[in-house]
Protein backbone atom coordinates (compact mmCIF):
# COMPACT_ATOMS: atom_id res chain seq x y z
CA UNK A 1 0.00 0.00 0.00
CA UNK A 2 2.79 2.35 0.98
CA UNK A 3 4.63 1.57 -2.26
CA UNK A 4 1.53 2.37 -4.33
CA UNK A 5 1.09 5.65 -2.49
CA UNK A 6 4.76 6.55 -3.07
CA UNK A 7 4.50 5.69 -6.76
CA UNK A 8 1.39 7.82 -7.15
CA UNK A 9 3.06 10.61 -5.21
CA UNK A 10 6.10 10.54 -7.52
CA UNK A 11 3.89 10.37 -10.59
CA UNK A 12 1.88 13.37 -9.38
CA UNK A 13 5.06 15.34 -8.74
CA UNK A 14 6.40 14.55 -12.21
CA UNK A 15 3.14 15.61 -13.85
CA UNK A 16 3.02 18.83 -11.84
CA UNK A 17 6.64 19.58 -12.65
CA UNK A 18 5.97 18.96 -16.37
CA UNK A 19 2.93 21.24 -16.36
CA UNK A 20 4.89 23.90 -14.46
CA UNK A 21 7.71 23.76 -17.00
CA UNK A 22 5.33 23.98 -19.95
CA UNK A 23 3.67 26.98 -18.32
CA UNK A 24 7.08 28.55 -17.70
CA UNK A 25 8.14 28.03 -21.31
CA UNK A 26 4.87 29.55 -22.54
CA UNK A 27 5.30 32.58 -20.27
CA UNK A 28 8.86 33.00 -21.57
CA UNK A 29 7.56 32.85 -25.15
CA UNK A 30 4.93 35.51 -24.43
CA UNK A 31 7.50 37.76 -22.71
CA UNK A 32 9.88 37.26 -25.62
CA UNK A 33 7.22 38.26 -28.14
CA UNK A 34 6.43 41.29 -25.97
CA UNK A 35 10.06 42.43 -25.86
CA UNK A 36 10.88 41.51 -29.47
CA UNK A 37 9.22 44.53 -31.01
CA UNK A 38 10.12 47.10 -28.38
CA UNK A 39 12.87 49.43 -29.59
CA UNK A 40 15.82 49.55 -29.61
CA UNK A 41 16.27 46.35 -31.62
CA UNK A 42 19.42 44.58 -30.54
CA UNK A 43 20.63 43.95 -34.10
CA UNK A 44 24.25 43.47 -33.13
CA UNK A 45 23.34 40.83 -30.56
CA UNK A 46 21.05 39.08 -33.07
CA UNK A 47 23.80 38.95 -35.70
CA UNK A 48 26.26 37.64 -33.11
CA UNK A 49 23.83 34.85 -32.23
CA UNK A 50 23.20 34.12 -35.92
CA UNK A 51 26.92 33.59 -36.31
CA UNK A 52 27.01 31.34 -33.25
CA UNK A 53 23.92 29.28 -34.06
CA UNK A 54 24.31 29.32 -37.84
CA UNK A 55 27.85 29.71 -39.08
CA UNK A 56 29.37 27.61 -36.31
CA UNK A 57 26.83 24.79 -36.83
CA UNK A 58 27.39 24.64 -40.58
CA UNK A 59 30.14 22.02 -40.54
CA UNK A 60 28.19 19.51 -38.46
CA UNK A 61 25.05 20.09 -40.55
CA UNK A 62 27.04 19.60 -43.78
CA UNK A 63 28.37 16.26 -42.54
CA UNK A 64 25.00 15.09 -41.20
CA UNK A 65 23.06 16.09 -44.31
CA UNK A 66 25.54 14.63 -46.80
CA UNK A 67 25.93 11.26 -45.11
CA UNK A 68 22.19 10.94 -44.41
CA UNK A 69 21.44 11.45 -48.12
CA UNK A 70 24.18 8.96 -49.01
CA UNK A 71 22.97 6.22 -46.67
CA UNK A 72 19.36 6.84 -47.69
CA UNK A 73 20.30 6.30 -51.33
CA UNK A 74 22.19 3.14 -50.45
CA UNK A 75 19.34 1.65 -48.39
CA UNK A 76 16.54 2.58 -50.77
CA UNK A 77 18.55 1.32 -53.75
CA UNK A 78 18.65 -2.18 -52.30
CA UNK A 79 14.89 -2.07 -51.62
CA UNK A 80 13.87 -0.60 -54.98
CA UNK A 81 16.13 -3.00 -56.89
CA UNK A 82 13.84 -5.86 -55.83
CA UNK A 83 11.09 -4.23 -57.92
CA UNK A 84 13.45 -2.85 -60.61
CA UNK A 85 12.49 0.64 -59.51
CA UNK A 86 16.00 2.01 -58.89
CA UNK A 87 15.03 5.22 -60.70
CA UNK A 88 12.90 6.22 -57.67
CA UNK A 89 15.97 6.48 -55.44
CA UNK A 90 16.47 10.16 -56.31
CA UNK A 91 12.92 11.23 -55.52
CA UNK A 92 12.87 9.12 -52.35
CA UNK A 93 16.04 10.76 -51.10
CA UNK A 94 14.83 14.24 -52.06
CA UNK A 95 11.39 13.82 -50.48
CA UNK A 96 12.82 12.31 -47.31
CA UNK A 97 15.39 15.05 -46.97
CA UNK A 98 13.14 18.02 -47.68
CA UNK A 99 10.09 16.84 -45.75
CA UNK A 100 11.63 15.05 -42.79
CA UNK A 101 15.29 14.33 -42.37
CA UNK A 102 16.64 17.76 -43.31
CA UNK A 103 14.60 19.73 -40.76
CA UNK A 104 14.62 17.07 -38.01
CA UNK A 105 18.31 16.20 -38.16
CA UNK A 106 19.30 19.87 -38.44
CA UNK A 107 17.05 20.66 -35.46
CA UNK A 108 18.63 17.89 -33.41
CA UNK A 109 22.18 18.86 -34.39
CA UNK A 110 21.61 22.54 -33.58
CA UNK A 111 20.01 21.50 -30.28
CA UNK A 112 23.07 19.47 -29.38
CA UNK A 113 25.48 22.23 -30.33
CA UNK A 114 23.75 25.57 -29.78
CA UNK A 115 20.72 24.72 -27.59
CA UNK A 116 22.98 23.16 -24.99
CA UNK A 117 25.34 26.15 -25.17
CA UNK A 118 22.43 28.55 -24.63
CA UNK A 119 21.36 26.66 -21.49
CA UNK A 120 24.94 26.50 -20.22
CA UNK A 121 25.70 30.16 -20.93
CA UNK A 122 22.50 31.56 -19.43
CA UNK A 123 22.73 29.06 -16.56
CA UNK A 124 26.25 30.28 -15.74
CA UNK A 125 25.04 33.88 -15.95
CA UNK A 126 22.23 33.01 -13.55
CA UNK A 127 24.41 31.34 -10.91
CA UNK A 128 27.09 34.04 -11.12
CA UNK A 129 24.41 36.75 -10.66
CA UNK A 130 25.03 38.30 -14.10
CA UNK A 131 21.30 38.09 -14.85
CA UNK A 132 20.54 39.83 -11.54
CA UNK A 133 23.13 42.46 -12.52
CA UNK A 134 21.16 43.15 -15.71
CA UNK A 135 17.97 43.65 -13.69
CA UNK A 136 19.81 45.96 -11.28
CA UNK A 137 21.08 48.04 -14.21
CA UNK A 138 17.48 48.44 -15.39
CA UNK A 139 18.14 46.27 -18.44
CA UNK A 140 15.65 43.49 -19.10
CA UNK A 141 17.49 40.15 -19.49
CA UNK A 142 14.79 38.76 -21.79
CA UNK A 143 15.44 41.53 -24.28
CA UNK A 144 19.23 41.25 -23.96
CA UNK A 145 19.67 37.51 -23.72
CA UNK A 146 16.59 35.62 -24.87
CA UNK A 147 15.23 37.66 -27.80
CA UNK A 148 18.50 37.61 -29.84
CA UNK A 149 18.91 33.84 -29.37
CA UNK A 150 15.34 33.04 -30.37
CA UNK A 151 15.23 35.42 -33.35
CA UNK A 152 18.59 34.10 -34.59
CA UNK A 153 17.52 30.46 -34.25
CA UNK A 154 14.18 30.96 -36.01
CA UNK A 155 15.96 32.53 -39.01
CA UNK A 156 19.07 30.39 -39.11
CA UNK A 157 17.77 26.84 -38.60
CA UNK A 158 15.78 26.96 -41.90
CA UNK A 159 18.92 28.19 -43.69
CA UNK A 160 20.93 25.31 -42.26
CA UNK A 161 18.11 22.96 -43.24
CA UNK A 162 18.25 24.22 -46.83
CA UNK A 163 21.98 23.41 -46.86
CA UNK A 164 21.27 19.98 -45.36
CA UNK A 165 18.52 19.28 -47.93
CA UNK A 166 20.75 20.26 -50.84
CA UNK A 167 23.77 18.30 -49.66
CA UNK A 168 21.63 15.29 -48.77
CA UNK A 169 20.29 15.16 -52.31
CA UNK A 170 23.81 15.69 -53.65
CA UNK A 171 25.08 12.85 -51.46
CA UNK A 172 22.23 10.66 -52.71
CA UNK A 173 23.16 11.57 -56.29
CA UNK A 174 26.79 10.64 -55.68
CA UNK A 175 25.91 7.21 -54.25
CA UNK A 176 23.06 6.52 -56.68
CA UNK A 177 24.49 7.80 -59.94
CA UNK A 178 28.25 7.63 -59.45
CA UNK A 179 28.64 4.57 -57.22
CA UNK A 180 25.56 2.48 -58.01
CA UNK A 181 25.23 3.44 -61.64
CA UNK A 182 21.60 4.59 -61.64
CA UNK A 183 20.73 6.47 -64.82
CA UNK A 184 21.49 10.18 -64.26
CA UNK A 185 18.51 11.42 -66.29
CA UNK A 186 15.98 9.19 -64.51
CA UNK A 187 17.43 10.06 -61.09
CA UNK A 188 17.10 13.81 -61.67
CA UNK A 189 13.87 13.64 -63.63
CA UNK A 190 12.09 11.76 -60.83
CA UNK A 191 13.17 14.41 -58.35
CA UNK A 192 11.53 17.10 -60.53
CA UNK A 193 8.49 14.87 -61.03
CA UNK A 194 7.74 14.00 -57.41
CA UNK A 195 9.19 16.78 -55.29
CA UNK A 196 7.02 19.88 -55.18
CA UNK A 197 7.99 23.32 -54.03
CA UNK A 198 5.52 22.93 -51.17
CA UNK A 199 7.57 20.01 -49.79
CA UNK A 200 10.59 22.28 -49.51
CA UNK A 201 8.65 25.24 -48.05
CA UNK A 202 6.88 23.11 -45.47
CA UNK A 203 10.17 21.51 -44.47
CA UNK A 204 11.67 24.98 -43.95
CA UNK A 205 8.64 26.12 -41.93
CA UNK A 206 9.10 23.04 -39.75
CA UNK A 207 12.76 23.98 -39.33
CA UNK A 208 11.82 27.51 -38.21
CA UNK A 209 9.48 25.96 -35.62
CA UNK A 210 12.27 23.64 -34.44
CA UNK A 211 14.57 26.66 -34.15
CA UNK A 212 11.98 28.32 -31.92
CA UNK A 213 11.59 25.19 -29.79
CA UNK A 214 15.27 24.50 -29.24
CA UNK A 215 16.16 28.11 -28.42
CA UNK A 216 13.12 28.65 -26.20
CA UNK A 217 13.81 25.49 -24.19
CA UNK A 218 17.56 26.20 -24.03
CA UNK A 219 16.92 29.75 -22.78
CA UNK A 220 14.20 28.63 -20.33
CA UNK A 221 16.43 25.99 -18.79
CA UNK A 222 19.39 28.36 -18.56
CA UNK A 223 17.29 31.19 -17.19
CA UNK A 224 15.87 28.99 -14.43
CA UNK A 225 19.12 27.31 -13.39
CA UNK A 226 19.64 26.90 -9.65
CA UNK A 227 22.50 25.54 -7.60
CA UNK A 228 25.95 26.29 -9.01
CA UNK A 229 27.98 24.16 -11.40
CA UNK A 230 25.84 21.07 -10.81
CA UNK A 231 22.73 23.06 -11.66
CA UNK A 232 24.31 24.33 -14.88
CA UNK A 233 25.19 20.77 -15.91
CA UNK A 234 21.67 19.57 -15.14
CA UNK A 235 20.07 22.48 -17.01
CA UNK A 236 22.20 21.76 -20.07
CA UNK A 237 21.34 18.07 -20.12
CA UNK A 238 17.64 18.72 -19.56
CA UNK A 239 17.59 21.37 -22.29
CA UNK A 240 19.04 18.94 -24.85
CA UNK A 241 16.76 16.05 -23.83
CA UNK A 242 13.55 18.11 -23.66
CA UNK A 243 14.27 20.04 -26.87
CA UNK A 244 15.17 16.85 -28.81
CA UNK A 245 12.04 15.02 -27.68
CA UNK A 246 9.90 18.12 -28.33
CA UNK A 247 11.28 18.37 -31.86
CA UNK A 248 10.39 14.76 -32.60
CA UNK A 249 6.91 15.06 -31.08
CA UNK A 250 6.22 18.40 -32.77
CA UNK A 251 7.46 16.92 -36.05
CA UNK A 252 4.64 14.37 -36.04
CA UNK A 253 1.94 16.97 -35.44
CA UNK A 254 3.39 19.47 -37.92
CA UNK A 255 3.62 16.73 -40.55
CA UNK A 256 0.01 15.72 -39.87
CA UNK A 257 -1.11 19.33 -40.33
CA UNK A 258 1.09 20.28 -43.30
CA UNK A 259 1.20 17.30 -45.62
Amino acid sequence: MKRVSETLDNLGRSVLSGVEQMGGILILLISTLGWMFRPPLKLRAIIKQMEFVGVKSTFVVVLTGTFTGMVLALQSYHGFRLFSAEGLVGSTVALSMTRELGPVLTGLMVTARAGSAMAAELGTMRVTEQIDALYVMAANPIKYLVVPRIVASVFVVPLLTAISDFLGILGGYFVGVVLLDINKGIFVDNIYKYVELEDIYNGLIKAAFFGLLLSLIGCYKGFNTRGGAEGVGMATTEAVVIASVSILVADYFLTAIMF
Partner: protein, 248 residues
Protein backbone atom coordinates in the same frame (compact mmCIF):
# COMPACT_ATOMS: atom_id res chain seq x y z
CA UNK B 1 15.76 57.87 2.05
CA UNK B 2 15.05 54.13 2.16
CA UNK B 3 12.53 52.84 4.68
CA UNK B 4 11.70 49.18 5.19
CA UNK B 5 8.42 48.63 7.00
CA UNK B 6 7.21 45.29 8.39
CA UNK B 7 8.88 43.20 5.71
CA UNK B 8 8.02 39.50 5.63
CA UNK B 9 9.40 36.85 3.33
CA UNK B 10 9.23 33.06 3.53
CA UNK B 11 10.51 30.33 1.25
CA UNK B 12 8.07 27.44 1.54
CA UNK B 13 7.79 26.94 5.33
CA UNK B 14 11.04 28.75 6.19
CA UNK B 15 10.63 32.31 7.46
CA UNK B 16 13.60 34.36 6.29
CA UNK B 17 12.41 37.90 6.98
CA UNK B 18 10.00 38.10 9.89
CA UNK B 19 8.95 41.73 10.20
CA UNK B 20 12.05 43.74 9.28
CA UNK B 21 11.87 47.48 10.07
CA UNK B 22 14.82 49.65 9.11
CA UNK B 23 15.57 53.23 8.02
CA UNK B 24 18.62 53.89 5.89
CA UNK B 25 19.97 57.41 6.27
CA UNK B 26 20.86 59.41 3.17
CA UNK B 27 24.54 60.08 2.53
CA UNK B 28 25.67 57.51 5.11
CA UNK B 29 26.93 53.94 5.05
CA UNK B 30 24.69 51.45 6.81
CA UNK B 31 26.13 48.01 7.38
CA UNK B 32 23.77 45.09 7.83
CA UNK B 33 25.38 42.27 9.75
CA UNK B 34 24.18 38.79 10.59
CA UNK B 35 24.97 35.11 10.27
CA UNK B 36 25.53 33.42 6.94
CA UNK B 37 22.19 32.29 5.56
CA UNK B 38 20.41 34.66 7.92
CA UNK B 39 18.60 36.60 5.18
CA UNK B 40 20.95 39.57 4.62
CA UNK B 41 21.22 39.01 0.87
CA UNK B 42 17.47 38.39 0.68
CA UNK B 43 16.91 41.74 2.37
CA UNK B 44 19.30 43.42 -0.09
CA UNK B 45 17.49 41.84 -3.04
CA UNK B 46 14.21 43.25 -1.74
CA UNK B 47 15.71 46.73 -1.51
CA UNK B 48 16.63 46.66 -5.23
CA UNK B 49 13.40 44.92 -6.26
CA UNK B 50 14.95 41.60 -7.28
CA UNK B 51 12.54 39.87 -4.89
CA UNK B 52 8.95 40.65 -3.97
CA UNK B 53 8.01 40.50 -0.28
CA UNK B 54 5.15 38.39 1.05
CA UNK B 55 4.03 41.55 2.82
CA UNK B 56 5.46 44.88 3.92
CA UNK B 57 6.84 47.97 2.24
CA UNK B 58 10.18 49.05 0.80
CA UNK B 59 9.98 52.80 0.43
CA UNK B 60 12.61 54.49 -1.75
CA UNK B 61 12.05 58.25 -1.60
CA UNK B 62 8.53 57.47 -0.34
CA UNK B 63 7.72 55.19 -3.31
CA UNK B 64 6.84 51.60 -2.37
CA UNK B 65 8.90 49.63 -4.88
CA UNK B 66 7.19 46.35 -3.96
CA UNK B 67 4.07 47.60 -5.74
CA UNK B 68 5.70 48.97 -8.89
CA UNK B 69 5.40 47.44 -12.37
CA UNK B 70 8.59 46.57 -14.28
CA UNK B 71 8.82 49.89 -16.11
CA UNK B 72 8.44 52.07 -13.00
CA UNK B 73 10.76 49.77 -11.06
CA UNK B 74 13.44 50.24 -13.73
CA UNK B 75 13.17 54.01 -13.29
CA UNK B 76 13.78 53.61 -9.54
CA UNK B 77 16.65 51.20 -10.20
CA UNK B 78 18.51 53.93 -12.07
CA UNK B 79 19.08 55.51 -8.64
CA UNK B 80 20.94 52.37 -7.58
CA UNK B 81 24.25 50.70 -8.22
CA UNK B 82 25.16 47.30 -6.83
CA UNK B 83 28.38 45.47 -6.19
CA UNK B 84 27.71 41.73 -6.22
CA UNK B 85 29.63 39.27 -4.07
CA UNK B 86 31.70 37.89 -6.98
CA UNK B 87 31.42 41.04 -9.08
CA UNK B 88 28.93 39.59 -11.60
CA UNK B 89 30.85 41.17 -14.49
CA UNK B 90 29.52 40.14 -17.90
CA UNK B 91 31.90 37.42 -19.15
CA UNK B 92 31.28 38.23 -22.80
CA UNK B 93 32.25 41.91 -22.44
CA UNK B 94 35.58 43.54 -21.74
CA UNK B 95 36.16 45.90 -18.81
CA UNK B 96 35.28 49.05 -20.78
CA UNK B 97 32.03 47.51 -22.08
CA UNK B 98 31.11 46.34 -18.58
CA UNK B 99 31.70 49.73 -16.96
CA UNK B 100 30.06 51.62 -19.82
CA UNK B 101 27.01 49.33 -20.02
CA UNK B 102 24.56 51.57 -18.13
CA UNK B 103 25.84 54.68 -19.89
CA UNK B 104 25.14 53.10 -23.29
CA UNK B 105 21.73 51.88 -22.21
CA UNK B 106 20.38 54.82 -20.30
CA UNK B 107 22.11 57.96 -21.57
CA UNK B 108 22.60 59.61 -24.93
CA UNK B 109 26.33 59.99 -24.41
CA UNK B 110 28.57 59.64 -27.47
CA UNK B 111 31.13 56.83 -27.63
CA UNK B 112 34.01 59.24 -26.95
CA UNK B 113 32.24 60.65 -23.88
CA UNK B 114 31.55 57.11 -22.62
CA UNK B 115 35.22 56.21 -23.11
CA UNK B 116 36.28 59.21 -20.99
CA UNK B 117 33.66 58.47 -18.31
CA UNK B 118 34.75 54.81 -18.13
CA UNK B 119 38.40 55.79 -17.71
CA UNK B 120 37.40 58.28 -15.00
CA UNK B 121 35.40 55.71 -13.01
CA UNK B 122 38.18 53.13 -13.35
CA UNK B 123 40.64 55.73 -12.07
CA UNK B 124 38.30 56.40 -9.12
CA UNK B 125 38.67 52.76 -8.09
CA UNK B 126 42.42 52.78 -8.64
CA UNK B 127 42.63 51.07 -12.02
CA UNK B 128 44.02 52.40 -15.27
CA UNK B 129 44.78 50.94 -18.69
CA UNK B 130 42.75 47.74 -18.27
CA UNK B 131 39.81 48.73 -20.48
CA UNK B 132 40.49 46.02 -23.06
CA UNK B 133 40.96 43.17 -20.58
CA UNK B 134 38.29 40.49 -20.23
CA UNK B 135 36.88 39.69 -16.75
CA UNK B 136 38.56 36.25 -16.84
CA UNK B 137 41.96 37.97 -17.00
CA UNK B 138 41.40 39.89 -13.74
CA UNK B 139 42.25 38.90 -10.16
CA UNK B 140 39.49 38.69 -7.51
CA UNK B 141 40.29 42.14 -6.12
CA UNK B 142 40.43 43.74 -9.57
CA UNK B 143 37.10 42.19 -10.52
CA UNK B 144 35.50 43.74 -7.43
CA UNK B 145 37.00 47.13 -8.23
CA UNK B 146 35.81 46.96 -11.84
CA UNK B 147 32.38 45.92 -10.55
CA UNK B 148 32.40 48.95 -8.25
CA UNK B 149 33.35 51.20 -11.19
CA UNK B 150 30.40 49.72 -13.09
CA UNK B 151 28.10 50.24 -10.09
CA UNK B 152 28.96 53.96 -9.85
CA UNK B 153 29.22 54.59 -13.60
CA UNK B 154 25.79 56.16 -13.95
CA UNK B 155 26.29 58.29 -10.82
CA UNK B 156 23.70 56.55 -8.63
CA UNK B 157 22.49 57.97 -5.31
CA UNK B 158 22.54 54.60 -3.57
CA UNK B 159 25.08 51.78 -3.83
CA UNK B 160 24.50 48.31 -2.42
CA UNK B 161 27.45 46.08 -1.50
CA UNK B 162 26.82 42.35 -1.11
CA UNK B 163 29.66 41.00 1.04
CA UNK B 164 32.32 43.05 -0.77
CA UNK B 165 35.29 41.66 1.15
CA UNK B 166 34.48 37.94 1.08
CA UNK B 167 37.28 35.81 -0.32
CA UNK B 168 39.94 38.55 -0.37
CA UNK B 169 43.39 38.51 1.19
CA UNK B 170 43.91 40.93 4.16
CA UNK B 171 45.63 43.57 2.03
CA UNK B 172 43.00 43.56 -0.70
CA UNK B 173 40.30 43.44 2.00
CA UNK B 174 41.66 46.67 3.49
CA UNK B 175 41.97 48.21 0.01
CA UNK B 176 38.29 47.47 -0.71
CA UNK B 177 37.26 48.89 2.70
CA UNK B 178 39.15 52.11 1.95
CA UNK B 179 37.61 52.21 -1.51
CA UNK B 180 34.10 51.96 -0.05
CA UNK B 181 34.87 54.76 2.42
CA UNK B 182 36.39 57.06 -0.22
CA UNK B 183 33.74 56.33 -2.85
CA UNK B 184 30.96 57.02 -0.37
CA UNK B 185 32.61 60.29 0.66
CA UNK B 186 33.64 61.50 -2.80
CA UNK B 187 30.31 60.82 -4.48
CA UNK B 188 28.19 61.53 -1.34
CA UNK B 189 26.50 58.15 -1.71
CA UNK B 190 24.03 56.33 0.45
CA UNK B 191 25.66 52.93 0.88
CA UNK B 192 24.23 49.71 2.23
CA UNK B 193 26.84 47.07 2.95
CA UNK B 194 26.11 43.44 3.78
CA UNK B 195 28.97 41.92 5.71
CA UNK B 196 29.95 39.54 8.47
CA UNK B 197 33.53 40.69 8.65
CA UNK B 198 33.64 42.30 12.10
CA UNK B 199 36.72 44.46 11.49
CA UNK B 200 35.34 45.85 8.25
CA UNK B 201 31.93 46.79 9.60
CA UNK B 202 33.34 49.18 12.17
CA UNK B 203 35.63 50.77 9.58
CA UNK B 204 33.09 51.44 6.85
CA UNK B 205 29.79 51.80 8.73
CA UNK B 206 28.23 55.02 10.00
CA UNK B 207 25.30 52.92 11.19
CA UNK B 208 25.16 49.20 11.87
CA UNK B 209 22.08 46.98 11.93
CA UNK B 210 22.05 43.38 13.10
CA UNK B 211 19.65 40.97 11.39
CA UNK B 212 18.84 37.92 13.47
CA UNK B 213 15.91 35.51 13.32
CA UNK B 214 14.41 37.54 10.47
CA UNK B 215 14.32 40.79 12.46
CA UNK B 216 16.58 43.78 13.03
CA UNK B 217 17.49 43.22 16.67
CA UNK B 218 19.94 46.11 17.08
CA UNK B 219 20.64 49.36 15.23
CA UNK B 220 23.05 52.17 16.03
CA UNK B 221 26.39 53.83 15.48
CA UNK B 222 29.54 51.66 15.71
CA UNK B 223 30.10 52.96 19.27
CA UNK B 224 26.55 52.13 20.31
CA UNK B 225 26.85 48.68 18.76
CA UNK B 226 30.13 47.99 20.55
CA UNK B 227 28.56 48.96 23.88
CA UNK B 228 25.28 47.11 23.32
CA UNK B 229 24.46 44.58 26.05
CA UNK B 230 22.52 42.42 23.58
CA UNK B 231 23.98 38.91 24.07
CA UNK B 232 23.25 37.82 20.49
CA UNK B 233 25.09 40.84 19.10
CA UNK B 234 28.01 40.42 21.47
CA UNK B 235 28.34 36.73 20.64
CA UNK B 236 28.38 37.60 16.93
CA UNK B 237 31.00 40.34 17.41
CA UNK B 238 33.28 38.25 19.58
CA UNK B 239 32.82 35.13 17.45
CA UNK B 240 32.18 33.00 20.52
CA UNK B 241 30.62 29.58 20.10
CA UNK B 242 29.03 29.90 23.56
CA UNK B 243 25.87 31.99 23.71
CA UNK B 244 22.30 32.37 22.52
CA UNK B 245 23.18 31.81 18.84
CA UNK B 246 23.00 28.09 18.22
CA UNK B 247 25.55 26.53 15.91
CA UNK B 248 24.03 23.90 13.67
Amino acid sequence: MIRIVDLYKSFKSQKVLDGVNLEIEDGKTTVIIGRSGGGKSVLLKHIIGLMKPDSGQILVDDVDIAKLDDRSLNEVRKKFGMLFQEGALFDSMNVAENVGFSLREHTKMKEEEIRVAVAEKLKAVGLTGIEEKMPSELSGGMRKRVALARAIAINPQIVLFDEPTTGLDPIMLEAINQLIIHTQKNFNLTCIVISHDVESIFKVGHKIAMLYDGKIIEYGTPEEIKKSPNPVLQQFLTGSIEGPIHIM
